[in-house]
Amino acid sequence: MKTTYQWLKDFVEIKVGPEKLADKLTMAGIEVKSIQAAGGDFVFEVEITSNRPDWLSVAGLAREIAAITKTRGRQPAAQVKLKYKKGKENLGILIKDKKDCPLYTAKIIRGVKVGPTPDWLAKRLELIGCRSINNVVDITNYILFTYGQPLHAFDLDKIGHKAEIVVRRAKKQEEILTIDGVKKPLDENILVIADQAKPIAIAGVMGGKDTEVDGSTKNILLEAAIFDPVVIRRGRQKLGMQTDSSYRFERGVDHQTVNIASVAAANLICQVCGGELTLVKAAGNRGPQEKEIILNLEKVSRLLGVDISSAQAKKILDPLGFKTRLSGPGLKVSVPLFRQDVKQEADLSEEISRIYGYENIPLTLPAFYPQNQDLAAGNFISSLKNMLTGLGLNEAITYSLIDRRILQGFSGLPTVIEVENPLSQEQEILRPSILPSLLKCVGHNLNQKQEDIRLFEIGKIYRQDQGDFKEEPVLGLALCGTASIYLEGGTVKDNLGILYLKGIIENIFLRLGISGWEFKQSGNQAEVYLAGKKIAELFDLSGKQLELFEIKNKHVACAWLCLESLENSAKLEKKYVKPALYPGIARDISLLVKERVSAADLLKAVKQAGTALLAESAVRDYYKGKQVPEGFRSITITCLYRSPERTLTEAEVNPLHASVCQALTAGFQAQIR
């Protein structure tokens, strides 16, 4: 909201300059966004929080300034004597539902001359960014900004022949052409002001074109009312409108101000535009009663951490418009009607601390003791992230909301959760898989000519499950490109393939104390099982599958892992195991096997044939290419035989190893080289 320094001075004595005033307002909770010198005045742009509609006016701000700068305010009196000529005419006001409209007042002014606005008034409106229309309309706006009470002037002669104002909900299929020249469809959610035939204004939002005050207007009906904040809010949201009026009605206008403002407006119209007030009518409820709050200063002092006496509190609250009486150790505070936001002691604590000055409250540290509640999520995720960066991966964070089109080409996905009000197609659904997001990052980095891409993300995936929404954390991995490995012997270039992923995953398992996992392959993808449950999937993607992500002529190895399974299976308590006491005997077997023979199967056979004396066995080397026939590969398996009880002899190991070799040659048609 904008206001000016001189305008404020109409209502309060200001002894400080604009800069200093801005500073004081900001520190009292009225944030001054900017000050601009213009036309011999200073324009303040202030941000008013939604709980303080009483600050949405010059008079309201002036009251605050008087309190914080300890000067005298010139607040308008609650009762203004109105001199008017009572005519013979009458006006009916029919409020269909007093919940929608607790108060409606109308004043008829006859014989006005509509014309240009006096300079002083036009200038003030211009400074705060309000365009001058004509003297009558400008006065209603001026009063709105001065007192915070929205007003509307109708051309009386354009209202239907039998003078009656009806405040009602619109009917289905009714419509109205508003003064901005746009036809608005109405319905029963929208409150309107109507004559006997049709709506003439959208209540609290905007008037109708048909009853607009223009150059030919002679007689006007001046409306000042209170409308239900929620009704106004729903209506204007539905119509996609927001006006200075609706902004104030939504936040709540004050019963007493209706009278003050409408009288001030009527007086100013008569004074500026000529004309005579001929009728004053009101309908609706009596205003609410002032609330009383008992304020316990001891409690307030305890809450704030600073001692506030009753006398101090009184000195703070009275200038803000509260009426206070000392009552025992506390204070009886009666809350002015324009402060509907003050409902309980806590709200008064804020008023006291605000004016006392937050900067005057000391810094303390709470007396605190260590938590004994088992709330902490632990640092599982944090340590996992550190392992992954240690393994050479970079952490990505991607959006959980995605475009459903990037899921094309992924099969076996669950039912997705859809967003009701996305701003664009890119935010349509919650991702059911973490991989598309990571593939997008891979695509981006390839575009940026990155050669060695290794990414991970820990984030959630979302799905529908039997009419319920589920979110679950996963680890996503994606590798693409070439790793350049510098070695003493020279540089080796290697494609980042699925075995890199396997290595990463196994490293994590080992570090987490997980054992007994199993990789199962089907085509160009693999799954990881732990205790019979699938906990991860690995993919080697290429060609068409990657087109959507702008990845061409590349393979991407990617995987997801279920984080809960990882966390639940982790065994982080360590137990020391003594190293083997007796030396073992190592034997290598170099095999030539058909390519489709799985290394895992070979190792299984080795283990079985090796009996309990085979302490360790592993693939030590593999080779494909020259010297190995097409369709075959060479694998070297190393076997370590060892006994926990004695030193083994060659005589014991030789026949055992022979049977291991025999198992391989017989079972897999392998050739020992």
């Binding site: 909770g29 944030e31 939604s50 709980n51 936040r251 305890r302 809450l303 704030l304 951490g305 309980q344 002691e345 604590s349 804020e350 601390s353 937050y358 900067e359 409250i361 000391p362 303390t364 540290l365 709470p366 003791y369 938590q371 509640q373 709330l375 902490a376 999520a377 944090s382 992954l388 960066t389 240690g390 050479g392 970079n394 952490e395 990505a396 964070i397 959980s400 909301l401 959760i417 859809e418 967003v419 009701e420 009000n421 996305p422 701003l423 935010q427 919650l430 981006h444 940026q448 060695d452 290794r454 984030g459 959630k460 529908q464 009419g467 929404f469 979110e471 510098y486 070695l487 003493e488």
Partner: protein, 345 residues
């Protein structure tokens, strides 16, 4: 006599010696030529086939070869022996790239979250997490935010289409981390000191400082006798540890439906040191935190007695803090995951 062409043997020895670059290869060389069945032994054994008049000369030449070889082996032995105390002069070039282990990088958001959570946990807070799919109650009503009030405007929200079937609740994507306050307080009793990092969602148009998804950290402390001055003290410690000891803090009144009194926390601009620059809008202050004393209505909603307990809560946007800390001027960079960006942190 091709088998006894001593010049060829000599050449071969020279060639083989040139490839010796380790003790192992040296041993191979020694065995090949000086071994029991080595080349020289073979030559000596074959001396009978040499015409008698040439035998002496031949024997001499073989001896010379033997001596040369012995000297060579001894010299090389010295070279490769670790006890020699001297490394071979040119066996490495320190100008070559170090053999890289390719350490990866944590995302800057993670680093800032870890830093902030670390500061609070060192003060006795515990870090917890909560769901991103929330109920209207936890996101709004329970926090004293009426569903149809302008105070909700700061919390524009993504709603989720109901799941097929008979889902009674209306679900949304949390627009702040504060619903975790409601969740934690409903399940645990004071004293409590909790921090909650996480993703939040708001349907904001995307530009250099707005996104539809970002990260927040929520914190709150509840016990008997927690004071507003404690809020100031704790947050002052926090700000100084994140931004440095010289940074000033400023608490100014604000409005949040779930706290009363409420305070916005500003820090003196870390770019211009409070003099006024484009980052702070010439004000010298940067807004970084919202905070306040937990509203009695929130306590009522979770079943705490407002008369018995008091507490404070605060919340902040992680991207904003990361942008200030690292001098990043576009929030979208965090989610592009460009390796040239990630590798800087």
């Amino acid at each position: 006599m091709p088998g006894f062409d001593l010049d060829a043997v000599k050449n071969q020895i020279e060639q083989d010696a040139a490839t010796v670059d380790s003790l192992l290869k040296l041993e191979e060389l020694r065995v090949k030529y000086l071994g029991r069945k080595g080349v020289l032994a073979e030559l000596t054994a074959g001396i009978g086939a040499v015409p008698p008049q040439e035998r002496a000369g031949f024997g001499q030449k073989v001896n010379v070869l033997k001596n040369t070889l012995n000297a060579l082996v001894a010299e090389k032995q010295k070279l490769f022996s670790p006890r020699s105390g001297q490394s071979p002069a040119s066996s490495f070039d320190i100008g070559m790239p170090g053999i890289n282990q390719n350490l990866g990088h944590l995302h800057p958001i993670t680093q800032v979250v870890d830093e902030i959570c670390g500061i609070f946990t060192s003060m006795g807070f515990v870090a917890v997490s909560g769901p991103e799919i929330e109920t209207e109650y936890n996101n709004f009503t329970g926090l004293n935010i009426p569903l149809e009030h302008p105070s909700r405007e700061a919390f524009d929200t993504f709603y989720l289409k109901p799941a097929g079937g008979n889902q009674r609740q209306r679900y949304l994507l949390r627009s702040h981390t504060s619903p975790v306050q409601v969740r934690v307080m409903k399940t645990a009793k004071p004293p409590l000191a909790v921090v909650v990092p996480g993703r939040v969602y708001r349907p904001d148009a995307v530009d250099a400082s707005h996104l539809f998804m970002f990260h927040q950290i929520e914190g709150f402390m509840v016990d008997k006798g927690i004071r507003f001055s404690d809020l100031k003290g704790v947050l002052d410690v926090f700000v100084k540890r994140v931004f440095g000891k010289d940074v000033k803090t400023r608490f100014r009144p604000h409005f949040f439906p779930f706290t009363e009194p409420s305070a916005e926390v500003d820090v003196s601009c870390i770019i211009c040191k409070g003099k006024g620059c484009s980052v702070c809008g010439k004000k010298g202050w940067l807004e970084i935190l919202g905070s306040g004393m937990i509203h009695p209505n929130v306590f009522k909603n979770v079943g705490y007695e407002p008369k018995k307990y008091s507490g404070f809560a605060f919340g902040m946007g992680i991207e904003r803090i990361a942008m200030l800390k690292y001098g990043i001027n576009d929030i979208r960079l965090f989610f592009e995951n460009d390796l040239r960006f990630l590798r800087q942190f």
